[in-house]
């Protein structure tokens, strides 16, 4: 038998008390302080790396002709991909009446926002003069210049900024009723004022709920095609070019599947330790973990299909350059990255067919981390191996990331985890009102 999506015996009162007490009354676990210290340290590394980049310029990175897109683009695509699970869980699963989403949507949406924040950092820095990044937005300037709307890089500006905005709106709307709960649960005057400000006077009126539910459903309906569009547009950065290894029609669907794959892997990586640390097993049950593992398996299979069809099409095209690109990808100097990618993203997820592995949180935790690594390698393979052998041997080259490439990447992890730790300390990491609703539905069938 499957375990339930909500442990039995919970009332509206116990749900509210349990989730709000994590923030208001319970002792902050020691692991939280250790986590914040580590994440904050890494964030300072980010600050130093960005500072040094601004002082010395892009030369501190390992990029050069022919490989002018290095870690910055790899990290950007990796982070944006991770940022897809939140909206998928919130919007698509809501439209499909998947009730299990109620326990993890708040957390996944927060993760999305922080991942997109990390992602946005890299193209902005890659511009070289980030203080002029606003040139990319269309506004009537004194130079009478307008952006080039036929470029996928500009589409990216619109897609990612829209995605960040809509994800923030969705997350904030979901938080309003819970902010009212926090306001009413808080005993301290300052804390009441803090949550009261965010609740904006929410009083759970039936009139308000009706408009609220209408707005929430509309947002879900709007966010669903948005999720699909964002990673499609990211894949256009590659697919619209004419470079062998990038110019491929399979890119948009396989990028979207890869994004969901990596997003669920990141949710599992984070939820498994948090659930244990905060004792949230009643709300995030073994059933949730099992379902997330299944989504990971399904999207992993789509990604594996993408790898296969991409290679097949290059071979079947008979194009000399396409076949040469595939050969160097599999057998050239970066072959290690290609075969490591196959191991992490194609072979490793196959273990999820086994039920006992899906039910072992330890095994899942490490598989999820493996998938995160694999998805990062996928972008490494796409960006680096496609660029390192041009059509002429004079434009062959190798890419070696520098010290500052690595520190910036680690630093972005620091930013992500700092924001995440702050979030779980200050805001309810599980949607309280949606769990109450879930409990009511369980009671009355």
């Amino acid at each position: 038998m499957n375990s339930p999506i909500l442990a039995p015996g919970h009332s509206n009162k116990t749900i509210t008390d349990k989730i709000s007490s994590l923030i208001l009354t319970r002792h902050t676990p020691r692991a939280w302080f250790l986590g914040v210290a580590a994440a904050f340290g890494l964030m300072m590394l980010l600050l130093v790396s960005v500072g040094w980049l601004l002082v010395r310029g892009l030369g501190v990175w390992g990029i050069n002709v022919p490989i002018a897109w290095g870690f910055a683009i790899i990290n950007f695509v990796w982070w944006v991909g991770i940022g897809h699970a939140g909206t998928l869980i919130s919007a698509i699963l809501l439209l499909m009446h998947q009730k299990w989403r109620n326990s993890i949507n708040r957390f996944a949406e927060a993760m999305t926002l922080f991942a997109v924040a990390c992602a946005g950092l890299f193209p902005a820095l890659h511009v070289g003069r980030p203080w002029k990044a606003f040139y990319m937005f269309p506004y009537p300037d004194t130079m009478a210049l307008w952006p080039q709307f036929r470029s996928p890089l500009l589409w990216d500006v619109f897609a990612v900024s829209t995605y960040a905005t809509v994800s923030l709106l969705f997350w904030f709307v979901g938080l309003i009723p819970d902010m009212a709960s926090m306001r009413d649960q808080a005993k301290n005057r300052f804390i009441q004022w803090f949550y009261g400000l965010l609740a904006m006077g929410w009083r759970g009126s039936a009139r308000h709920w009706q408009r609220y539910e209408s707005a929430y459903l509309l947002l879900a309906g709007l966010a669903t095609p948005l999720v699909v569009s964002v990673h499609s547009v990211v894949s256009f950065d590659f697919a619209v070019s004419q470079l062998p290894g990038w110019h491929s029609t399979i890119f948009p669907p396989y990028f979207v599947a890869g994004a969901v794959f990596s997003g669920f892997a990141m949710v599992l990586t984070l939820v498994i330790p948090l659930r244990k640390l905060y004792g949230l097993g009643d709300f995030i049950t073994d059933r949730h973990i099992d379902l997330m593992a299944k989504v990971m398996l399904a999207t992993g299979l789509i990604v594996a299909y993408g790898y296969a069809i991409e290679t097949f099409t290059d071979w079947y095209s008979g194009g000399v350059n396409e076949i040469a690109m595939i050969r160097t990808r599999m057998l050239g100097p970066y072959a290690w990255s290609y075969w490591a990618l196959m191991g992490f993203n194609v072979l490793l997820p196959q273990t999820l067919w086994v039920k006992s592995i899906r039910q072992s949180t330890w095994a899942l935790f490490f598989i999820a981390i493996g998938v995160n690594v694999g998805m990062w390698l996928e972008r490494f393979v796409i960006v680096i191996t496609s660029l390192h052998r041009g059509a002429l041997p004079s434009s062959w080259g190798m890419y070696t990331p520098t010290f500052w490439d690595w520190t910036l990447f680690l630093g972005s992890l620091g930013l992500f985890f700092s924001l995440l730790f702050l979030f779980i300390r200050v805001l309810p990491m599980i949607s309280i009102f949606e769990i109450r609703q879930l409990a009511a539905e369980e009671r009355h069938g």
């Binding site: 589409w155 039936a206 966010a223």
Partner: protein, 176 residues
């Protein structure tokens, strides 16, 4: 007791509240509202509230985003800053589809949130219902039905007796 804003009856759960809302409406009360810790399906209809016009607003904003987004690209690419690239047409509309789509979503989603808040009159720091000390349960496990004194049928004694008769655990005075 003419200085009351209204009366607030407290119920044990959403079913009791639904039944009470239905009966209050049948009894002829019109200025009714309910406060619950989660959205209860059909409650708003039971209280006789009209359906929200929010979807129309969102649709209009989406159309504005689509038209405005396409016009922005048309204007920038063909009028304000025409660039001849390999003899391709200036109004190369297929290339304008992604940004048009993103702006449609951006406008519609912003309208959904801004419209929901505006129609709900939020942010609203003060409301008479917050004067009831037990009202903090509305965001936890309390189910409340309110009748405003502005209702033509309202009579503080009669209405109080009526609400108590509906099975309310308690009836509170709501001061303005």
């Amino acid at each position: 007791m003419a200085d009351l804003w209204g009366l607030m009856a407290e119920f044990a759960d959403e079913q009791a509240l639904m039944a009470a809302a239905d009966q209050a409406r049948r009894a002829g009360y019109r200025r009714l509202d309910a406060h619950t810790p989660f959205p209860v399906e059909g409650l708003s209809e039971a209280l006789g509230h009209p359906r929200t016009q929010l979807p129309l607003l969102v649709f209009a904003a989406g159309v504005a985003g689509a038209v405005g987004g396409f016009f922005l690209q048309y204007h920038a690419s063909a009028v304000a800053y025409p660039l001849n690239i390999g003899g391709k047409p200036l109004v190369s509309w297929p290339a304008f589809v992604p940004v048009t789509f993103e702006l449609t979503i951006l406008f519609a989603a912003s309208a959904a949130v801004a419209g929901m808040l505006a129609l709900n009159g939020l942010p609203q720091p003060y409301h008479p219902v917050f004067n009831v000390p037990e009202f903090d349960k509305a965001s936890r496990d309390g189910f409340f039905l309110t009748v405003e004194s502005a209702d033509p049928l309202f009579n503080s004694t009669e209405t109080r007796r009526f609400l108590a008769g509906l099975g309310a655990a308690k009836v509170h005075d709501v001061l303005p």
